[in-house]
Symmetry: C2
Subunit: 325 residues, 2 copies
Amino acid sequence: MTELIDIEQAAGRLSDVAVRTPLLSNSELDKVAGGAVLVKPECLQLTGSFKIRGAYNFLCQLSPEEAQRGVVAFSSGNHAQGVAAAGTMLGIQTAIVMPEDAPRAKLDNTRRLGGEVITYDRYTGDRETIAREIAAERGSVVVPSYDHDYIIAGQGTVGLEIAQQCAELDARPDQVLVCCGGGGLIAGSAIALKANYPDVAVHSVEPEGFDDTARSLVSGRREHVDPAARSICDALQAHSPGAKTFAINRQLLADGLVVSDADVRAAMRFAFLNLKLVVEPGGAVALAAVLAGKIETQDKTTVVVLSGGNVDAELFAEIQREGSG
Amino acid sequence: MTELIDIEQAAGRLSDVAVRTPLLSNSELDKVAGGAVLVKPECLQLTGSFKIRGAYNFLCQLSPEEAQRGVVAFSSGNHAQGVAAAGTMLGIQTAIVMPEDAPRAKLDNTRRLGGEVITYDRYTGDRETIAREIAAERGSVVVPSYDHDYIIAGQGTVGLEIAQQCAELDARPDQVLVCCGGGGLIAGSAIALKANYPDVAVHSVEPEGFDDTARSLVSGRREHVDPAARSICDALQAHSPGAKTFAINRQLLADGLVVSDADVRAAMRFAFLNLKLVVEPGGAVALAAVLAGKIETQDKTTVVVLSGGNVDAELFAEIQREGSG
C-alpha cells in the first residue's frame, strides 16, 4: 500500500521550493519534559505551514491539460495557502473554498498568494459539495486536503527530514508527536519515520471533540466527530479520518493523544515565551501533549511537530495576555 | 588588534552548549526586498538572545579562584540572562544589576536561570558603579557587556556561523545588517565575516536617539547619546561605543543605519505575520532597516541578524494589535 507513496521523490521535487525547516532544541522544554525534546517548526515553512509540501507535490504532477484548467480546493486555511502558493509557482490558477470565519490572516494570505477565495458557512454549508460543483463547472481537478498519495507523500517529507536531522544530530527518536486533522501529515511522516527507525512510536495528537483518529485507532474503523464539537484548533476540524490516511495510520501509529483548548493555549504561551515561535492553535497540539503530560517524556527523546503558525494577531494577543496577569 | 579575538576557539567552546541557529529565508521578505534576504534568528538561541555566546566564552576562561568568588554583571536583560545561564552551566554564582523597568520577562528569566538580580533606576542610578561596588565587596570579577576580547569573540560566532551557512547554501552575502548597542556582536561578527568574505559590507543598525555608533563612524571618535533619549529598544541603549568594539568597528564597518520606533514596531509585526518569529524591539532593528528601505536590497543578498526575542507579552500584544485594525 505505502509503495505508491514516494516520499523521497516528493523530497526531490520540493528541495528547490520548500524550506528545510530546522530541528530545534530548547533547554526549558527539555527541563519541563525531563528528557530531550526536538521541535520541528513547520510554522517557519513557506506559507506558514507544512501544507505547501503536499500541495506542490500534487500540482506538479498534473498533466498540462489539467494544469491549464486550474484547480479547486477546500480548506480552513493552511491547505488553501499551500495550494495558492504552489499554483502561483507553477502557473496554475487556483480557486479555494474557505469557511467565512476562517482566521483573517489565512483568508488574506490565500488571496495574496494568488488564490481565488470562495467563502461558505462552516456550520451550514458543505465545502466539499461547493468545491465539486465549481470543479464540474470549470473542468478543474480538486486538490484533496489529505486523502491522496501525492498529498501524503508531500507531507511525509516532514517525517523524512526529521529522520535525516535526527541522524545528523546523532539522536535516536523514541517517539514523534504529530497533529492530526485528516491524517495526511502523520501518515506520510509515519511511513518515512518507520522506514528509518522501525521502533519509533508515532502518536497522533488531536483537540478534544475532534479525536476521531484516536477513537478510530481504538475501534479499528473510521469514527466521526460530533457535528456540535467546537475547538480553538481551526486547522484540525476534519470530520473523520481519510480512507487512505487511516489505512496507513492504523498500521503505523502507536496511539492517539487528545488535548484540551486550555492545553493548547498554554502551549502557545510556552512557544512565545521560550521557543520564540508563533504557533497557531492547531500547530501547538503536539507541544501541548508534552507540556500537559499526556505522554511520558522522562529520559526519552521526543520529537514534536509544530505544524503551522497562521494565527490572527487578535487571538494571539489574547492568549499571550492570559499568561501575563 | 583582532588577533586576540579568537572566534574559532570560542565556537569550539560553544559547540556543545549553544544552539547553532539556522539561517532562514522567507519568500515574503525576498519579495519586499526585491532580493535575497537571509535571516539569522538568534531569538531561537538559548536564553532568547545571542548574549549566552559571549557570556559563556568569558566565564569558562576564569581561573578556578575567580570562578569560586562568583561574577557580577550589569545589563538591561539579555546579557543578564546570558551570564546567569552560563554561570549555572559552569557552577559559577552570578549577580546581575538590572534596571527596575527592564522587561519583566527578562527580570523573571534571569532569576529563573539562577542569577541574583539587583535592580536600580535606569535614569538616576549608575549601574556600572553599583556593579563595581558589589564586585569590590565580594571580590568578584565583573563580566563586561561588550568591551572585552572574550565577549567579542563569543558574539562573533554569530558572524562565523553566518559565513559557514552562506557557504553551505552557496550564497555570497553582499551585506550583513547587525544591531548595535555597545557594538560587541557586530565587532566580532564583522571580524568573522570579513575573514571569509572580504568584500561584504557590514552595517550597524541602531534606534533613533541611540545612534552613537553611526555618528562615531562618521566623526571617527566615540560619540555619546543624549541622556534624554528614549527608545522602545531596551536592549540597545548603550551610551557610547566601547573602546575595543569601536576600534574594530571603525576599521571594518561600512556605515551605520538608523531606524525609528515605528519602523521597529512594523518589523515586529512583519516577523509575527510572515516569519512566525517572536522578535523583541532591539532584535528587530536590522529587519526594520530592510523593510523601511534604509538600504538598497534590490538584486542583492542581504543577511539580517534578529538578535533576540525577549519581549513582554503585553507589549508584544499591543504591537500586534496595531496592525490588525
